[in-house]
Symmetry: C2
Subunit: 502 residues, 2 copies
């Protein structure tokens, strides 16, 4: 068969795999929104069956043959073309998936199922020892996984590569080693200033009104309801079933305004990234964003750089006051802005503010790398956690539940994922500097409630490319430099200087 | 491999197919409840991909080999055992699916897609000629399908067998030829009596209150919310994703109380049938009910035999009056009961009452059989429809939209489906006589709001068996005779004698 016809066959096979992935995605979405409790066992079977078929197609002989067969066709194309990039990414995934043994996949599934259960118990009983043997097994499997990819530059690289394609541990180290002391220093400067007031965000807020305000907000920022929807869930997430249907979920808390407000903007950022993909990427592995970190850059920009900015609230605050007159009627815009940006070291990552969040992440990243390098023993993990936490954030967790046992990730075998959260913040700030240089009137536009120019910019520079470029490559193309922590620090310094007056 | 091990392998393969069917079911459920409009195209691809995989597994060489391999194992078992019945049904489906050519499947998909579109247009423009060539093609494909199963006793048999396994056209003819004149005669008796009043069901009813009352009703009749849920849709349906999750949907009309009220009970009847299956049937083709007709017997019993009965409303009417005091406060129980049972010939099948519904079905069934036999020409269909309609129901449709073009079924290639609707009514009445003989205090129980004994009876006699028995076989086992129209006529006669006083 001629190579260009083989390319069409490859595209068909990838489209089938995409369809199955979207179907699996809907099973997961439903499980977390509407599924009755009795459906859990069947849903587990359905997911396992679909996952197995998807995997089999991904590592099939047919896939290998087609990838070889299309080589003559794509080698004569522009390496940045859709076709060339599609084949490049597919080959990359195929080579990774075929290297990992079926035995490992089975062992990993078993270890993480048991690990997740043990973690839940350990957390409830505040007893790290209950989780320790499971974490040991998961780490052992992490080492086995890494060996499939030998030789490697650093033992953590193959794990990191799952979530940040092409990124190396040396990159991480050079980025975060310089960033951490600066973040710690900023935190000290803030701690020396009088604290801002945020009691008003903890009042009782009618849940339906919160929901309706969120919908109003989404509509005004240009959210595409024709290709999306929003539903309630326990742990908010975004998921998509092809370019025509990418959905968000939100949690509304009755006594804490920021949860729904900023959670909605965060998830909308993820969804708009996907929805902005070029139509040609639909039903291909290029439809997903460039990486978990780049995805997080989009969600954090909407949540923080825009959602917690003064111009945004100069536009929306009068309306929010109108919806919640008894809670916010006497709170000035300035007080509101300061309150939603209050900095206070806390133990739980998911509740952390912009100034402390990255420190939570860096701690986890350093521990993961240390564990993989063999420089930290698992039995010492709780102690090391607490000592570093005190060092970075100035407080010591009172128990494991608020310390080493708080995150689900390790129990599910997600080693290498945490860096993406912090990288998202850094990439977001880099893009933010770039766009503000490109569109100097951006703050003025936000003040007027105009979000189209900004969204168009993101679509053009980031969204439409999907996973065409690896994260470092994408950031380089858009900002002119690789991932760099300086813009993020400049952003934080400037923001909190105004708020805390140092 | 020993035959009993092959049986386990067969079960695994069937479980995989079931999982994929459940996943496809969720895609369809979502499409009709929550999917944003933009998702339609992707959803089409996803359904096509899943359907193709399901079909390939169903007719695979592996399936054929396993079916042969397990023969020595099941031939020594009780033919009524789960294992023997599972293999029997699977072999039956396998033989049917493998007989039909891939070309036919592709042609049928094409013809029905075009047919459905043409039907919509023809209906909107009240122009049968727009639909005629499409119906001709669909009928041609019907004939081709039938030839895959030659020799047959009657040309309509292979079509009927899709929806009512084991049922023959001669059965249908003997059942309905005697029934039709009796139904026509009953209708004449009713028409001679003064009409009952039902203006109150057409008042404005708050939609949320209708919904909440439906939920209350479902809860009180013992609906299992742990394994089900209810959502809104345009055309109500029931669908399931395994034994732990079978869901209903409902439509609420603001100015017509019966739609949500009886629609909810109807769908609940379908769901309770599935939810009552024996756990061993889960993830096997035996989980679905015995046939479309037996399924319809369950839904129509809840909708009509119970839901439109006096004892039921003796229990629930005070509460309904409480919810809608301004609409029903001055309507007596007796008036309400008569109103919801008003008989009036109308043109539209889906709005027909209990006394006229079967006549709508018999008309369609006779036309289908006539078309397949070649005794009716498609070009004469509108005329034949109207003449017989006048004969059976005493009125003539004013246009095609209210006549021959009203149903979607033929445009989608569903020839052979209509009989199931009428069979459901007959089977329901047969079961009704049986259960009232077994539990004479049934009406008294309903009056007290006790539905458990009745539901237990259904579970024991019908639900738990799933598709273990063919419809005729099942009815015979439970009632002692094959499908028989006499109980249905007795039920109608008795009910309307009281209401209309003839």
């Amino acid at each position: 068969m001629p190579p260009n016809e083989q390319f069409l066959q490859l595209k068909n096979l990838l489209a089938e795999i995409a369809d199955l992935n979207y179907a699996a995605g809907l099973l997961a979405w439903d499980q977390q929104t509407y599924m009755p409790p009795g459906g859990a066992q069947n849903r587990g079977y359905q997911m396992a069956t679909l996952t197995q078929i998807i995997h089999a197609k991904g590592v099939s002989k047919e896939m290998g043959k087609l990838l070889d067969g299309v080589q003559p066709y794509v080698s004569q194309l522009d390496p940045d073309s859709f076709e060339a990039r599609l084949v490049k990414l597919t080959r990359r995934q195929y080579e990774k998936e075929t290297k990992v043994s079926a035995q490992w996949v089975a062992d990993f599934a078993m270890a993480t199922t048991a690990g997740y259960e043990a973690w839940g118990k350990a957390r409830a009983e505040n007893d790290f020892k209950l989780f320790q043997p499971h974490l040991e097994r998961i780490l052992e499997l992490g080492h086995q996984y890494v060996e499939f990819f030998a030789p490697y530059e650093h033992v953590y690289d193959p794990l990191l590569d799952i979530f940040e394609p092409g990124m190396k541990t040396t990159d991480l180290k050079s980025i975060f080693l310089s960033l951490r002391p600066q973040q710690v220093a900023l935190l000290k400067k803030i701690a020396d200033r009088p604290q801002v007031e945020d009691a008003f965000i903890h009042l009782a807020y009618d849940e339906q009104k919160q929901w309706d305000f969120g919908v109003e907000l989404l509509t005004k920022i240009g959210f595409d309801w024709n290709r999306s929807r929003q539903d309630k869930t326990l742990h908010p997430f975004t998921t998509g079933f092809g370019l025509g249907d990418i959905r968000i979920t939100t949690r509304v808390l009755p006594n804490y305004l920021p949860s729904a407000l900023f959670g909605t903007l965060h998830e909308a950022g993820h969804a708009m990234y996907g929805l902005g993909s070029a139509p040609s990427l639909d039903r291909t592995p290029l439809l997903d964003g460039a990486s978990a970190g780049v995805h997080e850059s989009q969600s954090r920009m909407w949540e923080n750089l825009i959602g917690r900015s003064l111009p945004f609230w100069q536009h929306f605050y009068p309306r929010l006051q109108e919806v919640f007159p008894s809670q916010l009627g006497n709170v000035t815009l300035e007080s509101f802005y300061k309150g939603i940006n209050k900095v206070q070291p806390s133990f739980i990552r998911v509740e952390a503010d912009e100034a402390t969040y990255n420190l939570h992440i860096m701690l986890r990243m350093e521990l993961e790398i240390g564990l993989m390098e063999g420089n930290i023993a698992i039995k010492d993990l709780p102690e090391v956690w607490n000592v570093r936490f005190q060092e970075y954030l100035g407080v010591t967790p009172p128990d494991y539940t608020k310390g080493v046992l708080q995150d689900v990730h390790w129990s599910k075998g997600l080693i290498g994922y945490f860096p993406s959260y912090a990288l998202g913040n850094l990439i977001g700030a880099q893009l933010w500097e770039r766009i503000n240089a490109d569109i100097p009137e951006l703050p003025e536009q936000f003040r007027r409630g105009e979000f189209t120019p900004w969204l168009e910019w993101l679509r053009e520079k980031i969204h439409r490319h999907g996973a065409m470029f690896e994260p470092q490559e994408l950031v380089q193309r858009v900002t002119g430099s690789k991932i760099d922590p300086a813009p993020f620090m400049r952003y934080l310094e400037q923001k909190y200087r105004t708020i805390y007056g140092f």
